[in-house]
Amino acid sequence: MDTVIANAAPRAGLAHDLGYLWYRVRQSPLTMAGLAVIVLVLAVMALAGVLAPFDPNHVSLEQRLLPPSGAHWFGTDEVGRDLFSRILYGSRQSVSVALFVVPVSGTLGSLVGCFSGSIGGKVDTLIMRCTDIVLSVPSLVLTMALAAALGPSLFNAMLAITVVRVPAYVRLARGQALLIRELNYAKAARAFGGSRWHMVSWHVLRNAFPPILVQASLDVGSTILIASALGFIGLGAQQPTAEWGAMVATGRNYILDQWWYSAFPGFAILVTATGCNLFGDGLRDILDPRLKGK
């Protein structure tokens, strides 16, 4: 079966590759759904100022703990702030965490990993041992401990999550670097005198990109969850800033009578994380060579 397909003449070009990627993405309704959610959340994040009917920080004690209604779609919190607006603005906290953490940890980790894999030797072993150790500490606990130690704030939360995420990328990139080193064409390039660092970094980065991309897209979802978990226990963005996890936590005090307070922010977390994970999953299915065919 493979030989039949392989006879199709290869057409090179980045535009073609991207077109093919888009074709595969379009084929999967779930992946498209994920993409739609991501676009929606990004839009909310950007346009919160325009979309929110109320000022998220506007306190109004006569209006406290109102159920969902025409005026306040998601009800109000314990000091009368409109929950719908707060949720819209809350997207900024959660999403910005992901937008910071994933690229930073991904880039940092990949660079260290590529370096480690290309250099080899004692340096490589040392870096890998360190990575192994950090990875064997339960990540949630380490993140929480680090965030607590640094002090509760959005930035510290982002920092804590980033630090804990880096080792996974280091390991991933290093594995790819090792593979590339062994490939014949890399050896051939070396034989032709290409500068070692240049050749290695270019080939390594280009080939390591798909798995790293997949890992990154999967990470976005879990970053959002961890960020909201930190918010839930009081680390992360502080009051009066609206943050989804923190809102669920506060709402916990009122759950029996004012169920909407915890329900809606949590639902926002669910939807966002689901969208990111669906898209990341879809991407992985497409880019994973082992699942191809049939």
Binding site: T3, V4, I5, N7, A8, A9, Y20, K294
Partner: protein, 327 residues
């Protein structure tokens, strides 16, 4: 006497990005009872796909198909799955190229054989096991009891192929399809397995449809041969005739590339060019781009089939057509 297998104008496509791959392009072939028929061609010629379609083993929904396949009187393309299940492994059996991976690696051989035997015959476990022993012995396996207790990875490639052959013959099939069964084996073992296959097929009155890329094997083993190229049959006929008097340029090219033919000091000739892109088949003859005899007509229309006066040796080629018409 009706043919065991009759394929008429079979065309099959796999949809892919930006088009589809036409794996089979109007294939017509027949297998009569007790014949050994060979399909020879290079990678991508469609020979394996043809074999898989005989038992409808391709994944449902992954392909589009036109034409007809009639196996033991049944319309394969339209038959319900239950009918196909009955056929597979009992009246029609198939063995594949890679004996190394063809058996479940985590179960003992005996268990796997018993499972297949009991699928098609109502035997108790003990009886089925005895039957498995007998089948292995029939395949000239020494100490079959021990083999049954082994895991596949403990057996050599040749031994595994014997196990698979034993399984194939376990229910007295009328047709055995063998897709490159010896390609992955050592040369010495290859010959043994081939002889075994032929011996058993004759013994049990089974026909063999033998798929290979190796013309040398075909010449020694098959009664009739079909030569396939880029999804179509370009020539077919009794093996001896096709070998002695190849009519299609492609067949000639294949034969010229055989070491035996060029004598001890001749140069091996490769056919220049490469296989066409199956997603963009040319309008005319698929071989035209590489053919030394290509002419205008070849590029414009697919060639029609020319049959020799005896009616057994056919080729699809405009050059042959002209040859026939100009006495």
């Amino acid at each position: 006497m009706a043919s065991l297998l009759s394929i008429e104008d079979l065309t099959l496509e796999f949809p892919i990005y930006q088009g589809s791959v036409r794996a089979l392009n109007g294939v017509t072939l027949r297998v009569e009872p007790r014949e050994i028929v060979g399909i020879v061609g290079e990678s991508g010629s469609g020979k394996s796909v043809t074999a898989m379609m005989v038992m409808r083993l391709l994944v449902e929904g992954s392909y589009r198909v036109r034409g007809s396949v009639t196996l033991l009187g049944r319309d394969v393309l339209r038959a319900p799955e239950a009918a196909m299940l009955e056929l597979r492994g009992s009246q029609v059996a198939m063995i594949f190229q890679e004996p190394m991976t063809a058996l479940n690696p985590t179960r003992r051989v005996g268990g796997q054989m018993v499972e297949v035997i009991r699928l098609h015959r109502r035997l108790s476990r003990a009886r089925a096991r005895a039957e498995a022993v007998a089948l292995l012995r029939d395949m000239h396996v020494a100490d079959p009891e021990r083999i049954l207790g082994n895991y596949p990875f403990e057996l050599s490639g040749g031994m595994r192929q014997r196990v698979l052959l034993a399984l194939a013959f376990s229910c007295q099939p009328k047709l055995l399809i063998a897709d490159e069964p010896t390609t992955a084996l050592d040369v010495t073992v290859q010959r043994q397995v081939l002889l075994l296959m032929r011996e058993k097929a004759r013994e049990k009155n089974a026909a063999i449809l033998f798929i290979t890329h190796d013309m040398a094997v075909v010449s020694q083993f098959c009664d009739r041969v079909y030569v396939m190229y880029a999804g179509g049959v370009v020539e077919d006929g009794p093996t001896a005739e096709v070998m002695a008097n190849p009519r299609h340029p492609y067949t000639r090219g294949l034969l010229a590339a055989l070491p035996d033919r060029t004598g001890s000091r001749g140069q091996l000739e490769a056919i220049r060019g490469s296989v066409p892109d199956l997603t963009r088949l040319p309008e005319g003859c698929a071989f035209a781009a590489r053919c030394p005899l290509a002419r205008e007509a070849c590029r414009q229309r697919p060639p029609s089939v020319v049959t020799d006066p005896a009616g057994r040796h056919r080729a699809a080629c405009w050059a042959v057509q002209e040859e026939v018409q100009t006495p």
